[in-house]
């Protein structure tokens, strides 16, 4: 007999050669709120995918280790197995049908059928699914579930048009309406909520837990974790860092566990660099409507020749900044380049003013996948600066070939020739082509977003070294956005951490890891200490 509800025992998981979970063990007790915390890519989602038997796990060779529910080893092969075992989840994207009522959504595919003569006849004639539904009973059950959450909205209201906070409650009501629910996983439930909505969610969580249902609470908001959770488990790079009682720890310590000590590694010898005081790029109250990466009022000043890092967790808006300035998404605010105000949303004007952009969406807007390398490197310079054109404005084949070969050599792009289609290249080489294109524009300011995402270590190092070289030798101003704090710290002069669409704070690369962690988690009130 075990007193634990759920236990992960030495769980490991690899996708091909990439190990995403290493020997993770922890347990969840009945009726506790257990916070699960970690940066992007720490392994939270993989762990939950295993718990829910998602197809992605089984189609990639399963996992090692064991999952035990109430002391017995369980094999969860599909989300329905998980449901049958009493494990429920509220996803980040709502699984609600807007055209249905709250009750219909709560009872989705668990509808109650009427028991009457007509139904038994028609089900015998035409099959089980031809039974009519007992909407009265469905409404009654939905009412009961909503009452348990102390939610007094009418169960026959349509979901379309409900405030987002209510939708979250409907999702939770659906889970607790399922009979035999033992464990409820909430994935970033407060991310989309207003403060007061988040507060009522936290109190609802306490009610549920008090009713004997355990909750796994995935969140990066440290103040919420310390407010509501009993214990916290922190993952980092696929490994278990620690499981602790929340009352024995504090936000600072948790942040430090989350970010770890890796940030101080391999920073090139700091030659006590003097930065120009001249402001190259100034951003005032920038709002960007990038889906999932909304920017809600960012103010930044980037100095000339500096490498400025923008970090933060996924979905907080760090990627929106560069995309908004370059006019990929609708945006509002003031951007000054070298003192001159720039028109937002005019990509062409930005490019001709000497701003280049290496997008995080390599295959979408970074490259023309069906075109050869040389055209990819050249096309922006051709159309913006009218370079590589003959006097008749046809493309100058010789100049293009020469420049493409030079870039291929300089950036070490591994390819058969400059005529190879970019779609055939590896991720790292595609990224080098993107960088080559940006450099061909001879920019004064270079935006690079996620430059090392999905590429191998060799290419990673080459690209980071290149950025460093551009800044030091050519005085180029580089704004690098990245999810990997380590690489930001390795080359940036200053790093802004974006949280919930705003700049939470700006830190030097050698700041203690806990401070990065706190900023990422939206805790701002320690700033006094940092300054000192």
């Amino acid at each position: 007999m075990s007193q634990n509800l759920l236990e992960f025992k030495s769980v490991s998981k690899s996708y091909a050669d990439n190990q995403v979970l290493k020997d993770v063990s922890f347990d969840i007790r009945p009726g506790e709120i257990h916070a699960l915390l970690g940066e992007n890519g720490a392994g939270k989602s993989t762990l939950m995918n295993i718990l829910f038997g998602m197809p992605v796990i089984h189609s990639t060779g399963g996992y090692e280790g064991a999952v035990e529910l109430e002391g017995e080893k369980v094999e969860i092969k599909s989300p329905f197995d998980a449901m049958a075992l009493g494990i429920g989840m509220v996803h980040q994207e709502f699984m609600l049908i807007p055209g249905f009522t709250i009750a219909e959504n709560i009872k989705l595919n668990r509808e109650i059928e009427k028991k009457n003569m007509l139904n038994s006849i028609s089900s015998r004639l035409f099959g089980k699914r031809m039974k009519t539904l007992d909407f009265k009973q469905m409404n009654k059950d939905a009412r009961a579930a909503l009452d348990r959450l102390e939610m007094n909205i009418e169960e026959f209201t349509f979901v379309a048009g409900l405030p987002i906070g209510y939708m979250q409650f409907v999702e939770i009501a659906r889970e607790i309406d399922k009979t035999g629910l033992k464990l409820l996983v909430l994935d970033e439930p407060t991310a989309v909520l207003t403060e007061s909505e988040a507060d009522s969610l936290l109190s609802a969580m306490r009610i549920i837990a008090a009713g004997g249902i355990s909750i796994v609470f995935i969140s990066h908001r440290l103040n919420e974790i310390t407010a509501v959770a009993d214990r916290v488990t922190i993952l980092r790079d696929g490994e278990l860092v620690v499981t602790k009682d929340v009352k024995d720890t504090n936000a600072l310590e948790i942040a430090e566990y989350m970010v770890g000590r890796k940030v101080s590694i391999e920073r090139a010898s700091d030659e006590a660099r003097k930065l120009d005081d001249e402001i190259m790029l100034s951003i005032k109250d920038l709002h960007v409507a990038m889906p999932n990466e909304r920017v809600k009022g960012v103010n930044l000043e980037v100095r000339k020749g500096e490498i400025f890092g923008i970090g933060g967790l996924a979905g907080q808006g760090k990627l929106g900044i560069a995309n908004g300035i370059m006019g990929i998404y609708e945006s509002r605010g003031d951007v000054f380049l070298d003192g001159k105000q720039m028109a937002l949303g005019k990509t062409r004007k930005m490019l001709s003013a000497g701003v280049a952009f290496v997008s995080e969406d390599r295959k979408g807007i970074g490259l023309l996948i069906e075109e050869p390398i040389d055209d990819n490197i050249m096309f922006t310079a051709m159309s913006i600066h009218s370079e590589f054109l003959t006097s008749l404005r046809l493309s100058d084949k010789n100049a293009i070939r020469e420049h493409a070969r030079k870039m291929i050599k300089e950036l070490d792009i591994r390819c058969t020739s400059e005529k190879q289609h970019t779609g055939r290249l590896s991720g790292g080489n595609q990224q080098k082509v993107c960088v080559a294109r940006a450099l061909t524009q001879k920019p004064t300011v270079l935006f690079v977003s996620e430059p090392t995402r999905g590429i191998d270590i060799g290419a990673k190092k080459l690209i980071l070294d290149l950025l460093l070289q551009l800044s030091r030798e050519q005085g180029m101003t580089v704004v690098m956005t990245s999810s990997e704090l380590a690489e930001l710290c390795s080359i940036c002069d200053r790093i802004a951490i974006v949280c919930e669409g705003e700049v939470a704070g700006i830190l030097p690369p050698d700041a203690p890891p806990a401070q990065f962690g706190l900023l990422m988690s939206g805790v701002k009130d320690f700033e006094g200490e940092v300054a000192s």
């Binding site: 449901m83 609600l96 099959g127 699914r129 009265k136 998404y329 609708e330 509002r332």
Partner: protein
């Protein structure tokens, strides 16, 4: 403040007009046709509408279930219609074995399994062309047409032996192998209308076989329908008052307007039924005369009323039964699954609903109803153009339901009924409008074509435009989230 309010009222009005634009244009067209033409009498117009309503009713109803399941407007009902065609050709070929209403029932029996098979295959295709179902349904209709023609023109006779000199088969010289079904044939006159001349007239045929089973005076039927509708309105009102949780709501003014219309029809039906009853009872003493207008002293009103064709009760009941079935279906577990799948395949799938299977069942239901609809259509027409009559079924039915206020994502029995009346009213007045505008009755044919494709184009365009606007909202700065 005031400014804001007036904008929102204006905006509401604009949204309403945009929503109902197709219906409003059609209504305007019909009213215009009435005004400019002097050829319509109330009775001739009613006759035309009623005939076309019963002829096309089931075909339009066949469109509802696929819309519910998120497949959009199923132009592929042509495939179902072809199943009905095959059954009719078979039964008509063996007309000596299966005369009259028995033959017609056999048509239904043969068409159903064929339509289930066709519907299954079409549903499979829709699952493979996810997101493009409407385009796929258009193309599958053309493709099925080709296969159908190949079958009836070359396989019949070429592989399946047929009798030389049969009236269904293309005539050839003696000694030449007979091949292919003729490009047109008759359904054969029903028992009461037989003349003894022409093909198959030695035996009762299938034309109007269903319609003629039981006919009553039109105004009596109107009386019955008006009473039923009024009772329905009242019962529903009471139900809604007693069960606020049902989610059904109806503002009082709507109920009043509906009741008033119902009441007016009811009063008219009571009065005209009385008139007709009185005159027929007079008539009962003079059995030789079968039209009222031969009687001396009869009012114009009574004559006009008597000119409306007698009401085909059984066909009406079939359409009503199918309409009720669709309403019942939407309240079953399968119907609920259809709606879930229609709203979001991903969410339905995550909830454990078998999305593909549900979509195939929806397609099968639509295809079977289309096959039945085609048979009802042809028994009413009486004349069959073997290779063309089914071609426009998809377009016309889709146009009709769209005029009734349906979209690619939402359709109801009400939309189908309203659309049938409005759409065919347009068809009927088109020649008159053509005559008025271009001094040429043939231009009416142009008007019809223009209106049919116009309504499909405008409705689908509006629908896509609205969907695009909604999806763009999340890229907008000041919209949530």
């Amino acid at each position: 403040m005031i400014n804001n309010d007036s904008i929102s009222v204006g905006g509401k009005l604009r949204a309403f007009l945009l929503d109902k634009i197709v219906m409003i244009v059609f209504l305007g067209f019909v009213v215009f046709g009435f005004i400019v033409s002097d050829t319509f009498t109330p009775s001739s117009f009613t006759n035309d509408i009623v005939t076309r309503f019963f002829r096309n009713g089931v075909l339009v109803l066949a469109l509802i279930v696929p819309v519910m399941a998120g497949l959009g407007l199923n132009f592929g009902i042509v495939v179902g219609a072809l199943a009905g065609m095959l059954a009719i050709v078979f039964v008509r070929y063996h007309y000596t074995l299966f005369p009259g209403i028995g033959g017609l029932l056999l048509c239904f029996a043969i068409a159903t399994p064929i339509a289930i098979l066709f519907g299954f295959l079409t549903g499979k295709l829709y699952n493979k062309t996810r997101g493009q179902e409407m385009v796929a349904s258009l193309i599958v209709a053309f493709f099925a047409d080709g296969v159908y023609q190949l079958f009836l023109l070359f396989v019949v006779g070429g592989i399946i032996p047929v009798r030389w000199g049969h009236r269904m088969i293309n005539p050839v010289a003696e000694g030449v192998r007979p091949m292919g079904i003729r490009s047109s044939f008759e359904m054969g006159l029903p028992a009461g209308e037989m003349t003894g001349r022409g093909f198959g007239d030695e035996l009762p045929g299938m034309a109007r076989a269903l319609n003629n089973l039981w006919r009553i005076e039109f105004v009596y039927a109107l009386l019955a329908v008006a009473i039923a509708a009024f009772a329905f309105l009242v019962i529903r009102r009471v139900y809604m008052k007693k069960n606020p949780a049902s989610g059904m709501r109806e503002p009082l003014w709507q109920f009043c307007v509906k009741s008033a219309i119902c009441g007016a029809v009811l009063l008219f039906a009571i009065y005209s039924s009385g008139v007709i009853y009185y005159w027929y009872n007079v008539l009962a003493n003079t059995p030789d005369i079968n039209r009222l207008d031969h009687l001396p002293g009869i009012s114009n009103f009574a004559v006009e009323i008597s000119r409306i064709d007698r009401f085909p009760v059984v066909t009406g009941m079939v359409i009503a039964a199918i309409g009720l079935f669709i309403v019942y279906f939407s309240k079953t577990k399968l119907g609920q699954d259809c709606r879930s799948v229609g709203q979001s395949q991903q969410i339905a799938n995550v909830s454990g609903i078998n999305v593909d299977r549900t979509r195939i069942i929806a397609t099968i239901i639509s295809t079977v109803l289309a096959a039945w609809g085609m048979i009802i259509f042809l028994q009413d027409m009486g004349h069959v153009s073997t290779y063309t009559v089914y071609r426009n079924i998809g377009f016309f039915s889709v146009a009709a339901i769209l005029v009734g206020g349906a979209t690619a994502a939402k359709a109801s029995v009400k939309n189908a009924m309203l659309g049938l009346v409005l759409f065919h009213a347009m068809f009927i007045v088109s020649p008159a409008v053509g005559m008025f505008l271009f001094d040429d009755g043939n231009a009416g044919e142009y008007m019809r074509t223009f209106m049919v494709y116009g309504v499909i184009g405008v409705s689908l365009g509006l629908y896509v435009w609205k969907a695009l606007k909604a999806s763009k909202a999340k890229f907008r700065l000041d919209d949530a989230p």
